[in-house]
């Protein structure tokens, strides 16, 4: 069912139409097959880039789409409703562009941004390490100054699109403490850089998540984004935007689960009636719909604040928390609506349920979101 959206402009309506067309043709028909085979959709991100979906919230002068977050996030939602892994990777790519777009020098922006925002270069985001996920300030991967650049040594973990991306927003230590982290635009391939085997995951299997092993690779000086020591601040401000992306992905996934459940509930009969006509099941669907709508409303509220230049960090955390918990609940209930069929791989809802779980974990676990929210209350 097409979601009835409130969009700010005619351009935005055209963009959403285009997104639905592309997603219906390029994502929906192949998603289940790739997820099951754990095969990467070669060429797909090229198409998304050509169509203009990989740089939407950045200025047109830089090669972006010049769209507000309110619109960009709804595009992500439509992608996620067809294929969560592709939507998440799109969100991560957009996040990976953030440091250069926001903190890059004019020369850096000119050199890289157009190709990144047009999707000719696909990006990953490399903050986490094996021992440092929630506690990002605890990373130890080192960037040691050498003649005309930095030498990188250490292990990064959990990189969405790892080994496939063309560049990574890399965070590594140039000093001690939380002001000792710096941000780099690392290339996808370099001497002294190797990637681990893709993790065997519960879901999102078509896009690899890998570790990266940095063994003395040298990054040129102009790959330092922002000032030395500014890295953690960059990482955290990027994540404020990134978690909005995840909130939108979660909402799209929940919408897909709701749609599938409604469809099934209108076909399946039990006790001589369609199951949708049993009040007990109808109420389950009603709660699912309420969860989807509230997820969308909270992320749009945060997005509109961001678009107006107002503080939105708290609202972004609320949105991530509400939307990903909604996705977990709605996808679980969708399996319930399908009964025994829901538990089989013949129907899509068990996949949705597996895909929802990770959304409560990455880009700041939901415990961390609560910390961010609660922090504002301490006087």
């Amino acid at each position: 069912m097409t979601v009835d959206r409130l969009l700010p402009t005619r351009d935005a309506e055209d963009l959403l139409d285009l997104t639905r067309t592309v997603a219906d043709r390029e994502l929906a028909p192949v998603a289940a097959r790739h997820e099951r085979a754990e095969s990467y959709p070669e060429g797909l991100f090229g198409v998304l880039g050509e169509v203009g979906l990989l740089g939407l919230p950045y200025p047109e002068e830089d090669g972006g789409g010049g769209q507000p977050y309110e619109v960009y996030l709804q595009v992500l939602e439509e992608l996620a409703a067809r294929w969560a892994a592709v939507a998440v990777a799109t969100s991560v790519h957009t996040l990976a562009c953030f440091p250069v777009a926001t903190y890059g020098s004019p020369a850096q922006r000119e050199r890289w941004l157009p190709r990144m925002l047009e999707g000719r270069l696909i990006g990953g985001y490399s903050l986490s390490e094996p021992h440092a996920g929630s506690d990002a300030a605890a990373i130890i991967c080192k960037a040691r100054p050498v003649a005309d650049g930095y030498r990188i040594n250490g292990t990064k973990a959990w990189i969405t699109h790892g080994g496939k991306a063309d560049f990574y927003a890399l965070f590594a230590r140039t000093g001690e403490g939380s002001r000792g982290i710096s941000c780099f635009l690392a290339p996808g391939a370099a001497e002294g850089l190797a990637f681990g085997r893709p993790e065997e995951k519960m879901g999102l299997n078509a896009v690899p998540t890998t570790s990266a092993f940095w063994d003395g690779a040298v990054l040129e000086q102009d790959r330092l984004i922002g000032a030395e020591g500014q890295g953690l601040a960059i990482a955290l401000s990027a994540l404020d935007s990134g978690r909005l992306g995840i909130a939108a992905c979660a909402t799209g996934l929940a919408q897909a689960a709701l749609d599938a459940a409604v469809e099934y509930a209108n076909e399946r009969t039990a006790f001589g009636r369609r199951i949708v006509d049993h009040q007990g099941l109808g109420f389950l669907l009603a709660d699912m719909a309420a969860a989807v709508d509230s997820a969308r409303a909270t992320y749009l509220d945060a997005a509109r604040r961001r678009d107006l230049g107002r503080p939105y960090s708290r609202q972004a955390s609320v949105a991530k928390l509400i939307a990903t918990d909604a996705a977990m609940k709605v996808t679980t209930d969708a399996v319930q609506v399908f009964g025994g069929c829901g538990y089989t791989r013949e129907f899509p809802v068990e996949r949705y349920m597996r895909e929802a779980k990770v959304m409560q974990i990455f880009e700041g676990t939901n415990q961390i979101q609560r910390m961010v929210i609660a922090r504002q209350f301490a006087r």
Binding site: D11, L18, V51
Partner: protein, 265 residues
């Protein structure tokens, strides 16, 4: 050089299409869009320019107000400008009349190459390209699976070359420009318009023309002047339930019998 691509705004083939009482197309009860088969013509025009041929691409449509949508979609895929011929007196025009209007508009715009889809997805007659070539007095090279342009100069000239795949032979055909070609759905996937293309298309020029502008009298076109009219139309019957063959050892034979009875084998 100048390429004119003819595009048609048609009722969505996936919708529930029908006719009005006078036998004309019912445009009210089903959404319309750019004929999918014309997307291949647009794609080939864009490919010709991308191959290095310097050309201006103009889209041309004859249709009601909303047909502008088809032109916007085409312009979003690429190309330079468009012409929309729209006149109340055009309603009910058949292929012969349409080819007259198209030919007049093409002559007015100037052209070296006219590219059409192989047929429209609504009437699917596939005769307009040939009629156009005749009216314009230029060669026609139709039903091409592959098309290229060579040897053009600023002064014009050059040739269009194409490959036509038949049941028993493959024909390699060429014609001196100016010419009219039509291309099939085997020429290669048409691109998606990009978001930037959609925004840019809004700024591209769409010229609106009526019959007067083209020097066509209203009695030359329209339902009353049509040589072919829809006499009667019957709704497609709902699809009947298929025959299920229970395989009790004789399934193969039964299947073959069924196919033979329907004259498939």
């Amino acid at each position: 050089m100048k390429i004119v691509v003819c595009v048609k705004y048609v009722p969505d083939a996936t919708g529930d299409r029908g006719f009005n009482d006078d036998g004309t197309t019912d445009r009210e009860s089903v959404d319309s869009l750019l004929s999918e088969l014309d997307e291949y013509a647009i794609e080939q025009a864009l490919k010709i320019v991308e191959s290095g041929v310097e050309a201006e691409i103009t889209y041309l449509t004859v249709g009601p107000d909303d047909a502008k949508d088809a032109l916007r979609k085409a312009l979003a895929m690429g190309g330079d400008n468009a012409i929309h011929v729209n006149d109340d007196d055009i309603a009910g025009t058949d292929a012969l009349g349409t080819s007259l209007i198209l030919a007049k508009a093409i002559e007015r715009a100037g052209f070296d190459l006219v590219i059409c889809g192989m047929a429209s997805t609504d009437a699917s007659m596939g005769v307009v390209p040939a009629m156009l070539a005749e009216r314009l007095g230029v060669p026609q090279v139709t039903y091409l699976d592959e098309v290229t342009v060579e040897g053009t100069t600023v002064k014009g000239g050059g040739t269009v070359k194409g490959r036509r795949e038949g049941d028993v032979a493959t024909e390699l055909i060429e014609a001196a420009l100016p010419a009219v070609v039509s291309v099939t759905d085997r020429t290669g996937e048409a691109r998606y318009p990009s978001f930037k293309g959609i925004m840019a298309a809004k700024k591209k020029n769409v010229e609106a023309l009526d019959l007067d502008d083209l020097g066509i009298e209203s009695d030359q076109v329209g339902l009353s002047a049509a040589w072919s009219i829809v006499d009667t139309a019957t709704k497609r019957p709902p699809r009947a339930k298929g025959e299920v063959v229970e395989d009790e050892g004789e399934g193969g034979v039964q299947l073959a019998g069924f196919l033979a009875a329907k004259k498939f084998i």
